[in-house]
């Protein structure tokens, strides 16, 4: 059964910082990296992107690659300028207090349970 971002955010206790109007998107897989060119080269459309990067350029990457959402982990602060850019581009930013490894692990189990 497919689940959208809203259901995913509830289940994994992620806070939605931007793009609330796009929480009906259905994510397909995820990619975890803090290297922007790695994401540009290897992430696929509709994936979730787990990262500790929280500067403005992540918005352009998510938008250009048509990723379903960015998950900023480890409680990294996200600046006002980044939030504004994400809102205007319709980019969903989800926020997690826990580190990348734990977030990815939970997400992996969640996405695989859905596929069963």
């Amino acid at each position: 059964m497919e689940k959208n971002l809203k259901q995913l955010a509830n289940m994994l206790e992620l806070e939605c910082l931007t793009g609330k109007e796009n929480l009906d998107r259905v994510p397909h897989g995820a990619y975890s990296s803090d290297l922007l060119s790695d994401v540009m080269g290897n992430a696929q459309k509709d994936m979730l992107w787990i990262t500790t990067q929280s500067h403005k350029n992540i918005v352009a990457v998510a938008s250009l690659k048509e990723l379903s959402a960015i998950i900023i982990v480890n409680g990294r602060k996200v600046g006002e300028e980044v939030l504004e850019a994400a809102e205007s581009e319709g980019v969903v930013i989800l926020f997690s207090e826990i580190p990348a490894f734990e977030t990815a692990g939970k997400l992996y189990n969640y996405l695989h349970d859905i596929e069963k």
Binding site: L35, L36, S37, M40, K56, N57, A60, V61, L64, K65
Partner: protein, 136 residues
């Protein structure tokens, strides 16, 4: 259809703006979505190279019914060894730029993978010219 953009070296905050605008423009035409995404990746990487390495540059887009050609020209330090620069993992980016997640040495390889033609030339100490073409 022709479009020109100015790119300011060192301005990471505006980095990606030109590529994002071109992407929204070309999306309006009947170009296959996977081609649009490939063009977007190539343009973003090239734009960020100008931001990360050059003082200033321009991006000239020439959109035709059957292809898109984009030329980046910058004033900057140029590239000493183009063959080396094309190697995956090689980068001359500063620590500051690397901390932002750039400078992984994947930019030029990503451009090459996402376009049909790529012509890169440079005069060290003067600047760099990059021409990319994607056929629809």
């Amino acid at each position: 259809m022709k479009m020109q953009y100015f790119i300011q070296g060192g301005d990471f905050s505006a980095g990606g703006r030109a590529s994002t605008e071109v992407k929204s423009t070309i999306k309006q035409f009947n170009i296959p979505p996977d081609k649009v995404r490939r063009i977007a990746v190539a343009l973003y990487e090239a734009e960020m190279n100008v931001v990360a390495h050059a003082y200033r540059g321009t991006m000239n887009v020439d959109l035709r019914p059957d292809f898109i050609r984009v030329v980046f020209e910058d004033e900057g330090p140029g590239i000493e060894d183009i063959e080396k620069a094309m190697e995956e993992g090689f980068s001359t980016a500063s620590d500051k730029v690397r901390q932002m997640g750039f400078g992984a040495g994947m930019g030029l390889p990503n451009i090459k993978k996402n376009c049909d033609e790529m012509i890169l030339s440079s005069i060290p100490g003067k600047g760099t010219r990059l021409e990319i073409k994607v056929v629809f």
